[in-house]
Amino acid sequence: MPEEEWKRLVTIGRERLFPCIQCGKCTGGCPIALVCKTFNVRRILNEVLYTEGEEVAHNKDYLWNCSACGTCMSRCPKGVDPMEMVLTLRSVLVEDGEIPAKVRDVLKSIDVRKNPWGMGKDSRTDWTRGLEVKNIADAEVLYYVCCTPAFDQRLQKVPRAIVKAFNKGGVNFGILGLEEVCCGNEIKRLGDLWNFEALREKNLENFKKYPIKQIVVTSPHCYNSFIHDYPGLDVEVKHYTQKIDELLTEGRLAFTGEFTKKVAFHDPCFLGKHNQVFDEPRRILQRVPGLNYVEFDRCRERSLCCEGGGGRMWIEAFDAKDRTANLRVREAIDLGVEVIATSCPFCLLTLEDAIKIGRYEERLKVMDIMEIIDLVLN
Amino acid sequence: MLKKFDPNIMAFLCNWCSYAGADLTGTSHFHYPPNLKAIRVMCTGRINPLMVAAAFRHGADGVLISGCHPGECHYMEGNYLARRKIFVFRNLLEFVGINPERLQMSWVSASEGKKFSNVVKEITEKIKKLGPLTTFDE
């Protein structure tokens, strides 16, 4: 199967580039091209069209710079997907062993530990300490946690808040516990189709084992993977913002506390640009009592990528001062917001870094929507 | 060696949409398998189940009926009439032991040359899988 996948991408993929008219709308919107002049998807695409064979992928370190934000894909007037091409070229590099050391570590960790962070398998459920969480065997809705919030201490607040909210809302949910493995969204985008295939099989096997009616995920990356890369998965998948929005609309959940801050929402690419989930997070925030909601100028379809996707969490491509997340933080400062709200573990980490780099800790915080909800639910 | 099965497929195409669409397929040089041969009628509403039965009796392994999209019939509603007839007739086919999949219906407009070639490719593949129509107990 990986073999077929590979062929699909390389042979049919090239055909799918034929309609390109080199208008440059892809590069014009590319957040990476802002910082890295050599990473010009339009030009790379032209080169791929001119060159027969796969060697075109070689000696292009900059291919690892792509954050898979999907802007190029969503803007192309001819329906070409330049991002898919970049990721396909990466898969050529992976197959030929031309892999940066850090990426190698990630792939190895996936192979051995089924998470990209090199964490011990047994610590996956550490975040649940002191909480009531059922196993999925006894529940209907699977809460699929994601490796990053499960292992990262800063992020563990998010799944904890989700569990509390779901319990309050009377959701009959459970987790896979130690059985959970990485969804593979980033692994596929790092070009390792082989490891991705193994993860997909394992996940599908897990999902089949239990009578699951719905899957709710923490991360937009898992959401994207299950929606687009899991043909044959016939269970409804929801991002937690969609689920919480539903609970609020149905009156099963209500905010009692106040959060009197000026807040803007940062659209995660894998929720917005890739999957057009724009309204639910905004509706939730606008329901929070006392919250003064404002909108970034660049929001929704024009949102600025934080550079945390496409495996970029593990690839330090540029100098820290050149990250696009810094731009985003400066926009927030100019707008006078006190909190950037988001709903993606990666966005949370990259924006928090950017706040530190800009020394704005006193004036600005980044919070997951769940952290805000946690404060107003009591 | 067994001779490879090369199905005989007959098509009834309405003059205004599907026959014109098939002509456009030709003008645009989109290729399709030569198994299908078309008979032109003015409207799919003209097609009598008798003709389909005759096609099977005379050696057709598959029959295609193609007309204007719903709501676009040149004669108001002939294509709806055809659709109803074909729907009923497919049941009858099943009853007499002919796989109703051998009778296909499609909507191809005068501007859908590419679609017509795809329709022919699909029905040819389908009939190839079903094999020759030899018995009446499929």
């Binding site: 208008c23 | 989109f30 078309a38 032109r40 057709a60 007839k85 501007s111």
Partner: protein
Amino acid sequence: MKLGVYICHCGVNIKANVNVAKLTKFAEQLPRVRVARDYLYMCSEPGQQLIKKDIEEHGLDRVVVAACSPRMHEITFRKALRSAGLNPHCLEIANIREQCSWVHEDRMKATQKAQKLLAAAVSKAALLEPLEEKEVEVTPAALVVGGGIAGIQAALDIADTGYKVYLVEKEPSIGGHMIQLDKTFPTLDCSACILTPKMADVGNHPNIELFSYSEVVAVKGFVGNFEVTIKKKPRYIDETKCNACGQCAQYCSIEVPDSFNLNLSKRKCIYIPFPQSVPACYVIDPDHCRYLLTRDCTQCLEVCKQGTNAIDFTQKEELVEVKVGTIVIATGYDLFDVTTKPEYGYHLYDNVITGLEFERLSNASGPTTGEIIINGKKPKDVVFIQCVGSRDKTVGNEYCSRVCCMYTAKQAHLVREKLPQATITVFYMDVRAFGKGFEEFYDRVKQEGVKYRRGNPSEVYRRGDRLVVKAEDTLQGELVEVEADLVVLASGIIPNKQTAQIASLLKLSQSPDRFLLEAHPKLRPVDSASDGIFLAGCCQGPKDIPDSVAQASAAAAKSLIPLSTGKVIIQALTSFVQESDCRGCGFCVEACPFDAIELREVKRGRRVLEVASVNEVLCKGCGVCASVCLSGAIQQKSFADRQILSMVAALGEEYA
């Protein structure tokens, strides 16, 4: 019975993929075939002579031509038969080009298929009957739907020839989009100045009856005799009395967005779309009028009573029936909805506008009396973005809108003229300056210091109080951010919203781009597939003004052919009843979509029976009746059961 078979090489078009020699040999041994010949171009004069000579020498009474589609040359060969004294319906065509040689690669298999198609045609030909063609009188009038420049031109051309024209326009005034434009490219004529004389001509023409603020709601009949129902919406003002003095509007207290100025300004609830409107008559907006909504205001009525007393709140919607011989469709276009491209921020920023909005902004009768002012200021930096909604598969518009390159160049010129200090940047994918004087105009605009940068901008966003257009300059291969205070989106052209409705009303086809489909892309570009209905202007595809006018005149000329000959031949493929077989069940009467069949009493000895009877004038030859007849008594000429079944049988045979 003696058949002649004629196989065309069509140069190499057929010959390359079908073994013509083998096919001719095959034809010779088919039953009843007296002669079989092949020739380089059957449709050519010598080719037709070949057929005529054989008819005379061999006494042929049926002819089969194996060539291109009957949709191409059936008429040609029928004429040949007629001139040789044979009934033109004694012809059958085997389509071995479009449906054989052009679509199959394997020559052997294509030849086999051609044999089957030919055998089927020969077997049907043997059963063909000579048919009589009927002539009917033509109503000497035409209907033109749409009062933009195309409709105006077509109406004037037909009316000037002396025939009556009914011109139907859905808006309160004719003029279409052209009247909204400021200057026209590449000559910079004032659009209104060249259009209003034509509009006045329409209003004053003795042969033109103008139905403004009206829509076509039903069309019955066929070429020569269409019956059209027109819905007149109430203006609440008597057209014959109103002298457009405008007193009413001065007293009206309701202000609503002015759609003629694309909502960039306000107008009163009682209004005339623009000063030169034709008809020069006010109209009341029923969605906002206080009298019509709540009856609590009669300001306009009071003031008008002192003048011409034209206001009439009792007006009702009215249906009018007219009879015409031919129809010209000129329903025009709509602008692409740029909000579906959110990356350009049209829905967020007041200083991102569409090309048509720019026209109003630049026009002396527009909301700023022609000064380019946005948000109260004259812009310093203006950016134009081309191809918004054109050449864009993702919004379903794969085509080029054909006018945006030049209207952008013209607008860049207007900015240069009105704001000499401004920097002007045009972002383009390709500049298509293909018309007369276009390339020269493009050169001129570049000479005027307009910067053309190749690249399709990816997004527009705010920086401080200005806009930033971000793009890749693809010729430099570098990302650029161009600051602007005015961004103009060259929005493309899409078919008028009502195109689908018009298409289903008149049984016209739409091409995949949703514009109306012409009968033949090369040779019948103004005909629709339905006889007597012609296409003009942007309803058929994006066009500039000269092309619209040219097509409108062509459509007028085409529609004048039946009007001036006064007769049309109605197609002979009607149904007929074998009365002795009819048992009078009436199924065909029920099935006929055109009410062309009725039951009629006949005497059989002492008994009186009911049998079906076809009205050949109403019958359109679909054959639906024949498919529901239980006894096979009603049949369609040239498509009788036995004729079709003979083809089925022939296709079922295997030939060597």
